[in-house]
Amino acid sequence: MTQGPGKSPAVTLLRIVRYLLWAAIVVLVLAVGAMSFSVWQAGKSMGLQASSMGGPFSVVDTKGERVTQADLEGHPSVLFFGFTFCPEVCPTTLYETTQWLKALGPDADRLKVYFVTVDPERDTQEQMAAYLSAFDPRIVGLTGSRPEIDGMLKAWRVYSRKVPLDDGDYTMDHTATVYLLDRDARLAGTIDYKEAEDTALAKLKRLIAG
C-alpha cells in the first residue's frame, strides 16, 4: 500500500538515506543548541562575564597602604572575599590558599593574593592583620570604608548581604568563589569553594604560566 507501483527499491533506499541524513542534521542542530544554551546558562548563573568584571576601586591593606586597580596589573592575581566573623568558609579558603602557595613553591611569588573583607565595619586593618597572621604572609588583607569596599564589590560583581542575628550580631552572605585574574587584571578563571586541590593547583599553575 505504502509503496507505489512506480517506486523501485533503489528509490526507496535513497529516500531512507535522505530521511536519515535530515534526522542526523536535526539531532546535530539540537545538540549544538543545547550545548550553547547550557554554556550560556552556566555563565549567566555565575554572573561571571569576564568582560564586565573589574574596574576602578580604592581600598587599603592591613598596613594602611592604598590598593587600587593598578595593583592588580602586571602579574597574575588571586582575589577572594569573606569576613572574619565566619566559622567555616573563610578560614577554610584561607587555609587552602596557604596550602596552594606552599605547593606552588617559588612560582607562588609571581602571584599576588588578596583577601577582601565584605564586612569592613568589623574587619578593621588591625582585625584583618591579626586574623591573617595564622595564614601565608603573602595573603594581603584588604579593607576600607563601607563605600570603598562597596565600590570594589560592585566592580567585581561580588554579592554580599548583611543578615541580622540575635542581640545585634550579624552574619554576611557572600560570594565564596575564588577569582583568578590574568596580568591585565581580567578574569581568567575561578576556583569554587571546596574544589579538589589538584584541580585548583592546575588552574593556578596555568594562571602563573600565563
Binding site: M46, E88, V89, P91, Y95, A130, D166, D167, K194
Partner: protein
C-alpha cells in the same frame, strides 16, 4: 639543662599530639549517642568558631538537638551553612536539629555547626572546648570538643558532610 629537657619534652608532646590520630570519645544520654566531637582551631582574633559532632538516635522516638551552650564563648548558637551558586549562606537553625528515630545526623563542615560567637580565648589546636548539649527528649549532657587544626576536615576526612550515612555501619546492630 633541666629547662631544655622540659622544652624538648614539651615539643615532643606537641609533636605527639599533632601526629596522633584525632582523639576520640563518645557520649551517651538516653537513646542519643554523640561521636566525632571536634572544633576547628581559630586564627588570632577570630570572633567566631565552628564546632562539629555526629548524633545517632538509637531510640524508636525522634528527638531534637535544641541547644548548645558553653562558657568558652560569649554566645553559642546552632547554625546551618550552605553554598548556593557560589554564595555562602549561614543561618541560625530555628527550633533545633531533628534527629530521626534510628537515624544519624552529622553537624559537619558544609552543613550544620555549633557557632561559638566571640570565644573568650582562641581555640588552640590540641585543646578542648566544653559544651553542654540539650536534647528535647534525652535531656542535657556535658561534654567537650577536641580542637583540631585550623584547616582540618575533621576526624574523618572521608566522611560526607551533611548526611553521614557512612557512620551507620558502626551502629547497625545497636539498640535492636
Amino acid at each position: 639543662m633541666n629547662r631544655r629537657f622540659s622544652r624538648l619534652s614539651g615539643a615532643l608532646f606537641a609533636l605527639f599530639l599533632a601526629a596522633a590520630p584525632a582523639a576520640a570519645h563518645e557520649v551517651k544520654v538516653g537513646a542519643i549517642e554523640i561521636t566525632d566531637l571536634w572544633a576547628r582551631a581559630t586564627p588570632p582574633a577570630a570572633p567566631a568558631a565552628g564546632g562539629f559532632l555526629t548524633i545517632t538516635n538509637h531510640g524508636s522516638e525522634p528527638d531534637r538537638l535544641i541547644s548548645a551552650a558553653s562558657d568558652a564563648a560569649e554566645k553559642v548558637e546552632i547554625h546551618e551553612m550552605k553554598t548556593e551558586n557560589g554564595t555562602m549562606i549561614m543561618r541560625p537553625v530555628a527550633g533545633g536539629v531533628d534527629i530521626p528515630a534510628g537515624g544519624t545526623v552529622a553537624l559537619a563542615p558544609g552543613g550544620y555547626h555549633i557557632m561559638f560567637i566571640r570565644p573568650k580565648a582562641p581555640l588552640v589546636e590540641g585543646g578542648k572546648v566544653a559544651v553542654t548539649l540539650t536534647f528535647e527528649k534525652a535531656g542535657a549532657v556535658d561534654t567537650f570538643l577536641h580542637i583540631l587544626p585550623v584547616g582540618s576536615p575533621g576526624p574523618k576526612p572521608d566522611a560526607d558532610a551533611g548526611h553521614a550515612g557512612g557512620h551507620d555501619h558502626q551502629h547497625m546492630n545497636m539498640g535492636q
